[in-house]
Symmetry: C3
Subunit: 273 residues, 3 copies
């Protein structure tokens, strides 16, 4: 028996392993179309790194920016307006047969988008995203203390937005980042329209849909407590019923900047047939 | 302080690290005897890759195939017949002092086998396997929707078997595989005798046994929902009482084909003294 | 598109990747002061490997040994005496602005130390550590069977200590170790004063503190069952309220000996600003 290292990429050989061995090469990827829907305190640039990686592998990638976010000066938006932004983006470009990915709050957006253009969608992918029950709001899924913090932040706003203070952003969104990375990412955080986070959504139509679904969970993501009645997985993923689970190492925001290849690979694994 | 890469195999040095440093070599393995018990929708060939790796490292490996599976044309079997297959295999070969590994449904089999030949067994290893409570059946551990699906599949069968439709196999058993790998693995899936999945098992004797036990959990395994009152770990692992936990990256079936070295290493870590 | 290996350290390039590419170098670390508080069945030497790594990276590291442990011949100690050991260590050396890390039982110690010297502490880090509720004892967090075992071990002692039998140490503290590593580590296990594990602690002052906090969780740690109402994360981590989560691969004790670089890196990630 040979002794030595495991070959880390696949753990299927000794290290340094035989680079010419075909087993160790990444398989060619199925060519897909991705529509990536960002979450709160983010805009379409959230996906810049991931989109570049996915495109380099032959996929088509679209990153709609929705009402109240990015270049939109109007912060007085509803969840329906946000959904309409994405639906309009899809129908104007006549996109079909795409993988619709929602991150965080974006999960609630793709739930509602899926109700409106179900036949255009190949698969839904929720990445550490809300899967709301019929009649729920996003803040209904927060622990009491977090909900109170958000209500106070909302009440202190002049324009019904919530600005995420840096300490909350640091702990809940970029916990694995260096402080410099955290500060850099915080530069793109702007006040979030509050109303859509508190709106209770009618999701009866969503729960009647039968399209393929995946849940991508990163186990260092602490944006919500993970367990004890809260969290992404399995608390929300279980609501999808039959679905594909993919798990990775990462947190809520950091890897979109620091490990776009890893994140793109996981999104691909969640999205492929 | 030097700057550079971590050396991935152990994270204990800079990369490229000094290959001659003995710390980085895999330790020699204790020589063990393994009896590997497959689960539903599988036969003894499920273990081909893992068994080859374990044998290459000096272990003795046995992979009994049980009633209603593999080459057995009779699908009208009971849980007791399945248990008898494994017990007879063990006693005919007069196997002793072995690590008895059960995967998935195979967990229920090693629970019953352990009741009958406890003195021959060195350790029980449950790999993403059912650990049923006294008086439970396998389907008692399914969420309501999954149980209904299985009851319908059973009702639609002519010979009281359940054939796993490809979409269910894809989502629940091989979620991390490529589509090609999933299709390849599906070729060996045949209709599963339904009755043993619905039989309530008397496990009072099992819970009086005191032999060493381990639970091996793969965190991408989604064959059952993981949490909210369901799942492999900790929902079933906790029933073992004092036991050894080993956790790895993998799903329910895929790694047996694509990463047999990783899987064999984890089974060894669960099985060694 | 190039084909090949992922570069394992960061997954952001093909392997072998360009070593001169600055992205792949570890970022320089913020210089911190760490005070590391060990748990039960351990003494200050528990931290030897980790402390050496942290010092090599420019951090100041202190590892106070507390009453009833290490060189202290008196095993008849209270939780208050243990806390006083650490507080006295800190005040005698006039340590300020440090990251206070507690492992396992050490979590209860840093809870009480934080109450007494809050202004000296920069951040609290709980690594697979108890975060007790006000009025709780450590054994209140044990499953019934484990609590009974500990009560019996205590009752059988002449000097109100609990010696951890090797099989329990093997399964609960060093489950991922080889048997040789487990035996080697067991050489430093000595009888643990029982009283502090059964004392109910007044923690009202702790829960009024607002300093930064982190929880470091290793997902192979099975010292407590992880879920079903027990465990480190999220069962105890959630009690910290807003805090930073860091997750790693490891168990309760082994990595302090076998992977001090990995463990030191995770402690740094939990402790930095």
């Amino acid at each position: 028996m040979p002794r030595g290292y495991y070959c880390p990429p696949c753990y299927e050989g000794w290290w340094p392993c035989n680079e010419s061995d075909e087993r160790y090469f990444l398989p060619a990827q199925q060519r897909l179309t991705f529509v990536l829907v960002h979450g709160s305190w983010a805009d379409a640039h959230f996906w810049d790194g991931v989109a570049a990686v996915l495109r380099s592998r032959g996929h088509a990638v679209y990153t709609p920016e929705y009402a109240g976010h990015g270049k939109d000066p109007n912060k007085n938006v509803t969840h329906a307006m946000i959904t309409k932004s994405v639906v309009d983006f899809i129908t104007k470009l006549n996109l079909r047969n795409f993988v619709l990915v929602g991150h965080s709050f974006g999960g609630t957006v793709i739930q509602k988008v899926a109700e409106q253009v179900p036949d255009r969608i190949k698969r839904l992918v929720f990445w550490d995203a809300f899967v709301l029950k019929d009649g729920e709001s996003v803040v209904d899924e927060f622990p009491a203390q977090m909900r109170q913090s958000f209500e106070q932040l909302r009440a202190s706003s002049m324009d019904d937005t919530i600005m995420l203070p840096f300490p909350l952003f640091r702990d809940f969104f970029v916990n694995t980042a260096t402080l410099d990375e955290a500060k850099q990412m915080y530069l793109s955080v702007t006040p979030e329209p509050a109303k859509p986070l508190f709106e209770k959504l009618d999701l009866k139509a969503f729960y009647a849909l039968s399209m393929p679904k995946s849940y991508l969970y990163f186990y260092q993501d602490n944006a919500l407590p993970q367990g004890e009645g809260f969290g992404w997985h399995p608390h929300m993923s279980i609501r999808l019923g039959q679905s594909r689970l993919i798990v990775g190492d990462g947190d809520h925001f950091t890897d979109s900047r620091t490990r776009p290849v890893m994140l793109a690979q996981k999104i691909y694994e969640a999205g492929r047939d």
